[in-house]
C-alpha cells in the first residue's frame, strides 16, 4: 500500500503587509518549517532597535560594538543599523520621552522621528515612552507630522483610542500590544477595528520574555495566536513583532562575571539569537534585536530554514 502523507487543512492565513518595496511580511498559512502543510510565504524581517537618547544601561560590550559616539546620535545609529548592520526595519524606541527621564516634548519627538525617516530607507517603527497622557500627545504629533508612512506603537487595552484615531488620520500602521494573553490580544484587535481602523494595518506585539525569563509562556501564547489564525479566526490575522533585544540584554546571565558562562559578548549574542529563533518558530514576523552579530546569525537561520524546507517553492 502506498503511503499517503496526511495533510492538515488550514483555512486561515496571516495578513500579508507591505511595509516597503523590499520589506513584505506575513502571508503564511503555516508555521515556518511546516511547508508540507501549506504556504510559508515571506521571510521574517529583522529589525534593529535604536533610541532617541544614549542607552546608559546597555552592557559595555554592546556599546563598544556600536561605538559610543554613534550611540549619542539617533540619526547616526539609524544609518549604521541600516547600512552596516543590515537592518530590514528600524525600531525607533523613544525612551527619552518618558516624563521621568529626559521628558522630550511631543513636538521634539516628532522632529526626532522625521530625522530618522529621512536618514534611512527602511520602514520605521516608532514607539514613545511615558504615561498614557504623554504617549497620547506623541502619538498624535508623530502621526500628524510623519513625512512618510510609519508603524506606530503601542496600542494597549486601556489606551488604544488616541493612537488609533491618529494612525487612522495619518494612514499609518499600528502595533497592538497585549500582555502575553490571547484573549486580550483578540479583544484589542476587535476594539481597534471597531474604530474603523483596517485590520490589514495592525501588527500584534504579544510581548516577549527572554529565554529563561518567561520565554516559554510567550512561545505558547504566540503559538496559540497563530493556530487561531490558521484555524481561520478572522481577528487574529495580523503579523507579529517581538522585541527580543530589550528582554535579553537586561538579564543577569549576560551581565555577571563568571568564567564558566563563557565570553560575555558571546553570551549576549547567543541569548538574543536563540530567543529570536524560538519566537520566529512560533510565528514572529519581525524580531527586534540590538547586536549586529545577532542580525547575521538570525538571518542565516532564516535563510537556512526557508531554503531547506523549500518553503518558498512550495508556496509559489
Amino acid at each position: 500500500m502506498e503511503f499517503e502523507k496526511p495533510l492538515a487543512e488550514w483555512k486561515g492565513q496571516v495578513q500579508e503587509i507591505k511595509l516597503s518595496d523590499k520589506v513584505i511580511i506575513g502571508g503564511e498559512q503555516v508555521f515556518p518549517n511546516y511547508s508540507f502543510d501549506g504556504k510559508c510565504s515571506n521571510k521574517p524581517a529583522v529589525a534593529i532597535e535604536i533610541n532617541d537618547v544614549f542607552p546608559e544601561n546597555w552592557p559595555e560590550n554592546l556599546k563598544e560594538i556600536w561605538n559610543t559616539d554613534t550611540l549619542k546620535s539617533p540619526v547616526e545609529r539609524a544609518k549604521k543599523a541600516e547600512k552596516e548592520f543590515g537592518a530590514d526595519i528600524i525600531f525607533f524606541d523613544m525612551i527619552g520621552t518618558h516624563q521621568d527621564r529626559e521628558n522630550i516634548s511631543a513636538n521634539q519627538a516628532a522632529e526626532n522621528m522625521n530625522a530618522i525617516l529621512k536618514a534611512v530607507d527602511t520602514p520605521v517603527i516608532v514607539r514613545p515612552d511615558g504615561n498614557f497622557e504623554k504617549q497620547n500627545k506623541i502619538f498624535a504629533k508623530c502621526c500628524e507630522l510623519a513625512e512618510r508612512q510609519i508603524i506606530i506603537g503601542s496600542a494597549k487595552e486601556d489606551n488604544y483610542r488616541t493612537i488609533t484615531a491618529s494612525a487612522l488620520a495619518g494612514n499609518h500602521f499600528i502595533i497592538a500590544e497585549a500582555p502575553i494573553d490571547v484573549n486580550i490580544q483578540k479583544q484589542l484587535n476587535i476594539l481597534i477595528t471597531q474604530m474603523n481602523f483596517p485590520l490589514e494595518r495592525i501588527i500584534m506585539d504579544p510581548m516577549t520574555g527572554g529565554l529563561g525569563y518567561g520565554f516559554e509562556y510567550t512561545y505558547s501564547v504566540m503559538e496559540r495566536i497563530r493556530l487561531q489564525t490558521f484555524m481561520d479566526d478572522p481577528f487574529m490575522i495580523p503579523p507579529m513583532v517581538c522585541c527580543v533585544g530589550q528582554e535579553t540584554w537586561k538579564i543577569k546571565e549576560i551581565k555577571i562575571e563568571d568564567e564558566k558562562y563563557g565570553s560575555k559578548p558571546e553570551r549576549g549574542i547567543n541569548w538574543e539569537t536563540t530567543t529570536a529563533i524560538g519566537l520566529i518558530l512560533s510565528g514572529a514576523n519581525i524580531v527586534v534585536v540590538r547586536h549586529p552579530e545577532s542580525v547575521i546569525k538570525i538571518k542565516n537561520f532564516i535563510d537556512s530554514i526557508y531554503q531547506k524546507s523549500d518553503c518558498l517553492q512550495q508556496g509559489i
Binding site: 484615531a165 479583544q187 474604530m195 487561531q228
Partner: protein, 719 residues
C-alpha cells in the same frame, strides 16, 4: 413631521437658494473665471459637497452650475406635501448651498471662520479617542449673558466642544460670552464660527471631514458618510431664542446628518425608532435652562467619562480590604446596631433624574461621635440596554465600590449590611451623601454600556426605612424566585466563558441557568450582563439550537460553538454528563468530581481540602489529572453550587451517585442537599454519603456504603 416645520423648511431652502445665487452673481465679476473656489487649508475643497458627491468645485462657473442643478431638482417642491425623507433631502441641499456661498465668499477674500484641516485633526483625534465627549453646535443667543455663561460652563465641565454660530434678534452667544470675559479658544473648547445662519455649516463640514478622515470613507459615499456622522460623531444642535425659516432649513440639514436639535423654546417634537427599537428624538425642547445641557446629553446619548470619584477621601482599589476599628468609628449603620438595607431598582428612562442624590434624615454632623443610624440606600437606574435581570449584579457591587474609599468599611449585602465611616473620613469632610456620590460615579463608569442614568436616595430615618424595607425584601425574594425557577429549558441561549483560555487554550465553560462556571464566579446572569457590558469580551451568547440528547444535555448549537471556541478540538459537548463528552476543566474549578470504581459512584473534593481522598489522590494531584482543557471522562471540575442543581450530573443519576465529600461542604449545603434528596425520593441520602471523618480510603468507603445501603452500589459501575 409637522406641516409647520415642512413649510418653514421649504421657505428656508428658497431663501437660501436666493441668497447663494445673489452672492455668486455679485462675486462673479469680482473674481477671475479661473480662480479656484475652495476653503483655505483643506484637501477637501467644499467638504460637504465633496463627501456627498465625490465632486469638487473648481471655478465660479461650477458654482453656478451646482446652483442650477439644485434648483432644477427641487423645482417641483412647492407644497408642504412632501414626506420626511424629501424634507431631509431639502435640508441637505440647503446646507450645500450654504457651504457653496461661504466658499465663494471666502475665495473672494471675505473673512470666513472655516476650520482648517490641521485643526480638524487635532480636535478629531480628541473626539475619536473620546477626550472630547461631544460637540454642541449652538445656534442663536441665550436669554441673557449669565445664562450664556452658565450653559457654556456646564458644557465645558462635560468636555463638550461648543461651536457658536448665528444670532438671535441681533444677539449672539459669542458677544454674550465676550462681554462676560469668557476665554474662547480651542483649549477651552469654544470655537466661534460666525454670526450668520450660514456659518452653522462650518461646524457641519467639519463633522463630515471627520467621517472622511477617521471613517476611512471616500467622497461620494454619501449614505456611509451620513451614517458615520449619525453613529459616531456625538454632535447635536442647541437652538437658543427662536427660529426663522432659514434656521429651520439648516436644522433639517443637521438632522439629516444624524444630529438632533434641542431648543429652549417650544417646538413640535419629532422622533424615530433606532435600530434597537428605542425612541430617538430628532427635534425636542427643554424650557428649564438649568436642565438644558443634561437634556442634550440624554437625547444624543452622550456619556461623560468620569474616572475620579469626587469625594474628600482617597479612593482606590488598594483600600478595599481596609477595616475601620470600633474605636475609630465616627458613625455606623447596620450590623447589630441598627436596621440597614441596600437596593437597586430599574426604572424607565424618564422616571430617573440622573445625578440626583438625596439624603433624608439625620446628617453626619447631627449625630454624636461613635453612634449608629439606620440606613437605606435605594438606587434607581435606567438605561436603554438595562434589564431587570441585571439588578442583583449591580447590587452586589455596592460592597466593592463603597469599600474602595479610605475610612469606609462595608460588609454584607441586601438587608444584612454593616457600614462604618471612620473619624478620619468625617474629619476630611466625608458626608453620608458621598456614599451616593461613590455609587453614582462608579455605576456610570463601570456599567456605562447598560446604565444611562442613576438616581440615589439615602434614608437615615427609621420611619422611611420601615416603609421601604418590606418592598425591598419582597423584591429580593421575587428575584431569588425568578432565578431559582429558571431552568436550562426555559432559555434559548447559554453563555460561554473563555477567560481561562489564556492558560488552558482549548477550554470553554458553557454557563447555563442550572450550571454555573466551574470557578464558581460566573453564573448565567453574570454571563448575560458581561456580554452586554463588553460585547467583544470572553462571554458570548451561545444559541442552544436543536436538541441532540436531552438527557446528557447536548445541543447542536452548543456543539458548533464549542467546536469553534475550542479551536476545533472538541466536537461534542454535554452539560450534564460526567462520562459522555463532559465539559473540559481549565484549572480554576472550585471542586473536582472523580469516579470511584467499585462503588458505582463518585466523590467530590473541593480546593480547600488538603488531605487524602478515597480515590488515592489529594486535590492537587487530582487537579493535575483533570485540568488543562481536556475532556477527561470520569473526572470533572465544577463550581460548588452545581452540587445542589437539578442538573447536577443528571445524566448519570446525579446526587444518588455521590458517595463521598468533605464534611464541611456537606454541612454547608445540608439543607439544600436534603431537599434535593427528597425530590429524588431517597430520603436520608445525605447521611449515606461518607466524609473524611468516616473514611479516606476506598475499602473503608465501600464498607460504609454497604452498611448504609447507599443507592449507588446498586446502580452499576459508571464506566
Amino acid at each position: 413631521m409637522s406641516k409647520q416645520i415642512i413649510e418653514l423648511a421649504i421657505q428656508g431652502y428658497q431663501e437660501q437658494l436666493n441668497n447663494t445665487k445673489a452672492v455668486v452673481q455679485k462675486t462673479e465679476n469680482k473674481i477671475p473665471a479661473d480662480k479656484k473656489i475652495t476653503f483655505p487649508e483643506t484637501a477637501y475643497n467644499l467638504p460637504l459637497y465633496f463627501a456627498f458627491t465625490g465632486k469638487k468645485i473648481h471655478s465660479i462657473s461650477d458654482a453656478q452650475n451646482l446652483i442650477d442643478e439644485i434648483e432644477k431638482k427641487n423645482s417641483n417642491i412647492i407644497s408642504a406635501d412632501i414626506d420626511l425623507t424629501e424634507t431631509l433631502d431639502l435640508g441637505i441641499d440647503t446646507i450645500i448651498l450654504q457651504e457653496l456661498q461661504l466658499a465663494v465668499e471666502s475665495s473672494a477674500g471675505e473673512q470666513i471662520n472655516f476650520i482648517p484641516d490641521n485643526v480638524l485633526r487635532s480636535l478629531g483625534v480628541q473626539l475619536v479617542s473620546g477626550d472630547i465627549s461631544g460637540i454642541a453646535v449652538i445656534i442663536g443667543a441665550a436669554r441673557d449673558e449669565e445664562t450664556a455663561v452658565e450653559i457654556i460652563r456646564t458644557l465645558q465641565e462635560k468636555n463638550i466642544l461648543s461651536v457658536l454660530a448665528a444670532d438671535y434678534e441681533g444677539k449672539t452667544m459669542f458677544e454674550q460670552l465676550s462681554n462676560q470675559n469668557v476665554e474662547m479658544t480651542l483649549d477651552t473648547y469654544i470655537v466661534h464660527l460666525g454670526n450668520k445662519t450660514e456659518s452653522v455649516v462650518l461646524g457641519l463640514n467639519w463633522a463630515i471631514r471627520a467621517a472622511l478622515t477617521y471613517g476611512g470613507l471616500e467622497g461620494g459615499q454619501k449614505e456611509k458618510c451620513l451614517k458615520y456622522c449619525s453613529d459616531r460623531i456625538p454632535a447635536f444642535a442647541l437652538v437658543l431664542g427662536g427660529v426663522d425659516a432659514k434656521k429651520v432649513a439648516t436644522a433639517v440639514g443637521a438632522i439629516a446628518m444624524g444630529f438632533p436639535i434641542i431648543c429652549n423654546f417650544e417646538v413640535p417634537e419629532i422622533s424615530v425608532k433606532d435600530d434597537h427599537g428605542f425612541e430617538q428624538k430628532l427635534l425636542t425642547f427643554e424650557l428649564n435652562s438649568n436642565k438644558l445641557v443634561e437634556k442634550c446629553l440624554e437625547v444624543r446619548n452622550i456619556k461623560v467619562k468620569v474616572t475620579e470619584v469626587p469625594i474628600p477621601v482617597r479612593y482606590s482599589s488598594a483600600f478595599e480590604g481596609e477595616r475601620v476599628r470600633k474605636e475609630d468609628v465616627a458613625l455606623e449603620f447596620g450590623g447589630k446596631y441598627s436596621k440597614a438595607f441596600e437596593f437597586v431598582e430599574m426604572k424607565n428612562l424618564d422616571e430617573v433624574e440622573n445625578g440626583k442624590i438625596e439624603v433624608i434624615g439625620k446628617k453626619i454632623n447631627e449625630v454624636e461621635e461613635s453612634s449608629a443610624l439606620p440606613l437605606g440606600i435605594v438606587v434607581y437606574v435606567a438605561g436603554r440596554k438595562m434589564q431587570k435581570d441585571f439588578e442583583p449584579i449591580l447590587e452586589i457591587r455596592f460592597h466593592n465600590f463603597l469599600n474602595q474609599a479610605t475610612g469606609i468599611m462595608h460588609i454584607g449585602h441586601r438587608s444584612f449590611v454593616w457600614l462604618r465611616i471612620s473619624k478620619e473620613a468625617k474629619k476630611a469632610g466625608f458626608k453620608i451623601k458621598h456614599l451616593g456620590t461613590i455609587l453614582q460615579t462608579k455605576f456610570l463608569d463601570e456599567f456605562h454600556s447598560i446604565i444611562d442614568k442613576v438616581e440615589i436616595h439615602i434614608y437615615t430615618e427609621l420611619e422611611m426605612i420601615n416603609k421601604f424595607m418590606p418592598t425591598a425584601e419582597k423584591l429580593y425574594h421575587e428575584r431569588d424566585q425568578r432565578m431559582g425557577a429558571m431552568t436550562d429549558e426555559s432559555v434559548d441561549v447559554f453563555y460561554s466563558c473563555t477567560l481561562c483560555q489564556s492558560f488552558a487554550p482549548n477550554h470553554v465553560c458553557i454557563i447555563t441557568p442550572e450550571r454555573l462556571g466551574l470557578c464558581g464566579a460566573y453564573n448565567w446572569l453574570d454571563g448575560k450582563a458581561a456580554f452586554q457590558i463588553s460585547p467583544t469580551g470572553p462571554n458570548q451568547p451561545v444559541e442552544k439550537g436543536e436538541v441532540v440528547n436531552a438527557e446528557i444535555g447536548e445541543w447542536e448549537g452548543v456543539n458548533e460553538f464549542v467546536y469553534k471556541a475550542s479551536n476545533n478540538t472538541l466536537e461534542r459537548f454535554s452539560a450534564y454528563s460526567l462520562i459522555k463528552y463532559p465539559m473540559t476543566s481549565c484549572g480554576c474549578f472550585e471542586c473536582i468530581i472523580a469516579i470511584l470504581p467499585g462503588t458505582g459512584g463518585f466523590m467530590i473534593v473541593d480546593r480547600t481540602f488538603l488531605e487524602m481522598t478515597p480515590c488515592g489522590m489529594t486535590f492537587s494531584t487530582l487537579a493535575g489529572v483533570v485540568g488543562g482543557g481536556q475532556q477527561t471522562p470520569g473526572f470533572l471540575g465544577i463550581g460548588l453550587n452545581y452540587i445542589v442543581s437539578k442538573k447536577f450530573v443528571s445524566a448519570e443519576g446525579g446526587l444518588k451517585r455521590l458517595v463521598w465529600m468533605p464534611s464541611y461542604v456537606k454541612e454547608r449545603f445540608r439543607e439544600k442537599l436534603d431537599k434535593r434528596a427528597d425530590e429524588l425520593v431517597v430520603p436520608g441520602l445525605v447521611d449515606k454519603i461518607a466524609d473524611e471523618t468516616i473514611c479516606s480510603d476506598l475499602a473503608g468507603l465501600i464498607e460504609f456504603l454497604a452498611e448504609k445501603d447507599h443507592p449507588a452500589l446498586k446502580m452499576g459501575e459508571l464506566i
